[in-house]
Structure formats: C-alpha cells, structure tokens
Symmetry: C2
Subunit: 316 residues, 2 copies
C-alpha cells in the first residue's frame, strides 16, 4: 500500500517534500509497478534507467543558465590577461555589466564567450576552475550558492529511484564538463552517468604528463533531438523514466515513453513566482510550450511546483 494517502508524512515517506497530490501518487505508483516481482509491468534492475535534465529540472535556471553566470565570471577573472577585451564586444559588455550589449550579439557572442572561457586549458585545469566556482559563487537574487539552488523534491526523487535500483543519469543541454565536477556530491550522480553538450578534445603529453586538452570547437549539442542521440551514445539503452522542464526535453520524453510501456515522463512546471520563478510558454530560458500542450495526450505527469512541492530548496 502507498504511504501517501494519510495527509501526514509517514516516517518512511520517501518523498517528504512532495505534497500528497496526483503527481506524487503517479510517481510512486509507477515505481511500485515496475519493481514488484510478478507484476505484469515488472522491469529487471538493469533496465531501470532514469534520465534527468539538469537546468530547470534539478536546479534553477533563471534569470539565465547558471553556466552562463560561470562564463561571465570567468571573463571577469581572465580580463587582466586580456586588455583587448576592454574595447571588444561581447567581452566589453560583460566587463561593464551591460548584458544587453552582450545579448545583442546573439548566438555568435555566446559562442565567443564559451570558447574564451571553456577551451584552451586541460580537462584537469577546467575541472579545478569549475570546482572553485561552484564552491563559492552565489546567485545575485537569492544569495544562495548556485549549487544550493537545487530542488529538494527532485533530490528525494533521485534517492527514491536509486533505492529502487534505478540507475540515475543526467542528460542536459549544459556542458558535460561543467557538470561532472560536482554532480556526484550534489545529486549522487557520478561523472560517468552525466551526458551533456561537449566541445572537442585532444589527447597529448605536456611536460611529460598525459593530458586532455579542450579545443574551441563544438562536438555535440545535447538538446532536443540531440538528447536521444546522447542517451543512445552514452547509455545504450532506452530509459523507462525521463524528467525535463522545457521543450528541449520533448524528444527525450518522446523517446522514453512513446511505444514503450511501462514508462514515465515527468515535466517540472515552474509555477511558483514567490519561492522560485514562474515561467513557461514565453520564456527565453527553459521555454515550455509544446511539451505542456502535449503532456496530457502523451500521459506525461506535469509537476506544478507551487502546488506539488512543500519545499523548493534544501534547508528551507
């Protein structure tokens, strides 16, 4: 029997930060169905693959992706070595805090910023840079560390799934090497279970040490139809559960759930303008439009953050 009917969180409630609404019930019913031996929907342990988008699904993503905040901070930190940036967009805009000037350059500007801040060093060096930043950088609005702006209910869901022998993966449009240094400590997801966008790398020996060098060239974009491709390449099995929050996750949800039973699609809908942010169809970050339209017909569970979550961030 489910522990969710009483309205009082049972001591062994695996999802205590979730209100006792339909979303929580549908998750728990699915997990019970696929893990109960003898059930017609039983799924062997090795097939219990669950994939989670990161930005907007496991942590916040407003007012812009946290990886962009990282890149902007890097531009500032690197500026003393690049005097030419003082007069050269998009770097000039970053240094003067004029984000409009940066954004005016569109995708080309963003690629220039990423190339300048994410490439040219070894993988070990980049890992250290990310580790330092994620340990100290704080969000301007909440004053929290970015890595504390993760969603407590989703952490519980990850733990709950792993307790039921699911293997949990991140499948994110974000940079794979921006995530890997901290996902194990933060989400319990080790580097080898992180799939993301990547730049090209080259193996070489520097000063007698073997290193991976990061090149300023995009290798793979893990978004939209890239997500099933990334899942196929890195995992090699189709998930039975996928969670996302935007139209960039539509194909992953489709790949996971269409023509495949049992399966579970979950959409985090940002509805809480007070505790987090409220946005969907019109947002430039994390736009959720088509997937919201299709959720009911496809049988995807839409999580209403305001209604379904007791707490947003850990320790609240």
């Amino acid at each position: 029997m489910l522990q969710t009917g009483s309205g009082i969180a049972a001591a062994n409630d695996p999802l205590p930060s979730w209100n006792d609404t339909a979303a929580k019930q549908s998750i728990m019913e699915f997990v019970e169905r696929v893990t109960q031996e003898g059930s017609p929907d039983f799924v062997p342990v090795e097939e219990r693959i669950a994939t989670f988008d990161n930005d907007g699904t496991l942590w916040s993503e407003q007012p812009y992706y946290f990886q962009l905040a990282f890149a902007l901070d890097r531009v500032k930190a690197m500026a003393p070595d690049h005097p030419e940036w003082k007069t050269k967009q998009p770097f000039k805009g970053v240094l003067e805090g004029d984000l409009k000037a940066v954004m005016a350059g569109g995708k080309k500007s963003l690629i220039e910023i990423v190339a300048a801040t994410h490439a040219g060093m070894t993988a070990d060096e980049f890992e250290q840079i990310v580790t330092d930043w994620i340990s100290t950088a704080k969000h301007p609005k909440t004053g929290r560390l970015y890595r504390e702006m993760i969603f407590q209910p989703m952490l519980e869901l990850l733990v709950y799934l792993r307790a039921n022998d699911f293997k949990t993966f991140i499948v994110s449009g974000g940079g794979i090497e921006f995530m890997r240094p901290w996902t194990e400590a933060t989400y319990g997801i080790p580097p080898e279970q992180v799939v993301g966008s990547s730049i090209k790398t080259r193996y070489e020996v520097r000063d007698g040490k073997p290193v991976i060098v990061r090149l300023p060239e995009v290798d793979f974009v893990d978004d939209k139809e890239g997500k099933p491709v990334g899942i196929h390449s890195h995992i090699g099995r189709r998930p039975i559960l996928a969670a996302g929050n935007s139209d960039g996750d539509w194909q992953m949800l489709q790949y996971t759930t269409i023509g495949r039973s049992p399966s579970f699609g979950l959409i985090v809908h940002h509805t809480d303008g007070e505790r987090e942010w409220a946005y969907d169809r019109e947002s430039h970050i994390g736009q959720l439009d088509k997937a919201l339209d299709d959720a009911q017909q496809k049988g995807w569970t839409v999580v209403d953050m305001k209604q379904d979550w007791k707490t947003i961030y850990p320790g609240e």
Copy 2:
C-alpha cells in the same frame, strides 16, 4: 596475506585460471594495496575505474577481428538484395571467398563493407542482427562460438575487480554497438560501460515510433590517442587500471599509469600458438611492438599467455 604462494589453488583463489607467477601476484598485490583502508595507496571506491580493451584482450582476434567476420557474414546474408555485388569489389571478393581481393582494396574497401553492413538500419534492428549473429556464428578454426572465445583468466579478473568495488569498462577500437548487445551477458559489463568506435546516428520518428537511425559516416575512432579521449568523454575520470594487448592501447596505458600512482597497466601478450595464437611485433592484427618495448620501463605487467594462464577459454 595473498592466497597465491602455495602452488595449490586455494578454495577462495579469485584467479584460479592464472598460474602462480609474477603476473598474478602483481595484480593481487595491486588490488590489495588500493582496497585496504589505511593503506597509503588506498583508492576510494568511486575512483576504482578499470578499462579493458576487447579484441585480443578479452577475446581472441585472429585470423582477423571478429567484427570483420560479422561484416563478411552480413554481406553474404544481404547479397540477395544486392545483385550488383556479384560484380563489384569488395563485395564480389567476399561472396567468392576471395579475401585477398577484398584486402587489396585496403581501408577504403573495409569502410565500404562496414557502411553497407553497419548502417542504414535503426539501432534496434542492428542490435537484433548482432544478437542473432553472436548467438550462432562459429569460428572456422576452433568451431567455437565467437563469444565462447573469451579468455577465462580475464573473466576471473573482471569478477575479482568488481568484487573489490571496481567499476569495469570496455574501451575498444571495435564498434560500440557491435559490443553492447552481448557484453553484459558475456563479461558482466553493461552497455553504459562500453566505449568503442562509433558511426553517426540521427533521431527520428518512423511509423509513429521514435528510433535512432545509423548513418554511414564515422563519428569517432576509439583507438590509440582516441582511447583517452573516449575515456574522458564517456567516463570522465582517469582509470587506475587499464588492460590492452596491442600498440593501439599504448595511449590508454600511458594515460592510466604515467604520473599517476597507484595505477596498474596490463598487457596480454599472445604467446601461445598451440592453445590460441602467437603473434606480436609483425602482426597486422593486434600488433604489439612499441608497448612491448616500453613495458618494463613504464612498469606495465606483461601477461605471457602460455606461461601465466592455466586455461584460455571457458570450459577447457
């Protein structure tokens, strides 16, 4: 204390198919060192990553890579739909059993054969084709199923490492999707822990079903300096143990062991012309030359199949 000194296999000997020689001892000493809490060489569980080449390291590879045998069999199976192959090399050579004519075309011919046999279908279809072949195809010389030409001592090593909380990966020049359908049942290595060469794929919906389509274009070659790149991309951590058998594994061994301690490099040296094959420096398949020269200086353990292994294949 090690269980290997008595000359009589102890009941709890984890490597019973290994003779009590220096190779076995160095492996067991390494595993004891890195797993013993309080040891200066203790390695936390999550960092116990071990990577294994496949062809020539976990199974045989003579007289040519078994994946080529698969491709040749596929040409024959597909020939009725391709009447033009009767007069067109390299397919003509395959159909007439004239391997010299096939090889005369060099790399270009092999790419044509791979493109014709490995692309154009969905990933699910290809998985089924591989599954059918690996379940039935037999080696012309031994009469064994190819998948029974795996090395019993290496199976024991995989089990032994996992019993000591290592995570075992395949990192092979072979095709990632040629291996994944059978590595879990054969080696206990699940698809998500297999790294290999790959062709490009595309996500699409066919007849209402989401599928991954295999394209006739090389995406990644997981050989030589590609191996550290593949490890970095798929695993995101540097292994502490790597095993190979050819110069194609040299960079993986270097990446795993140089400037990194504790670490362990292992080379399977094919020295047994009676029970398996004997080849190294001059072989076109699995050439072992530079890595053999460098092994002593680099501290890599060279396994002499004839001297160090009691049995080669399971059930012998």
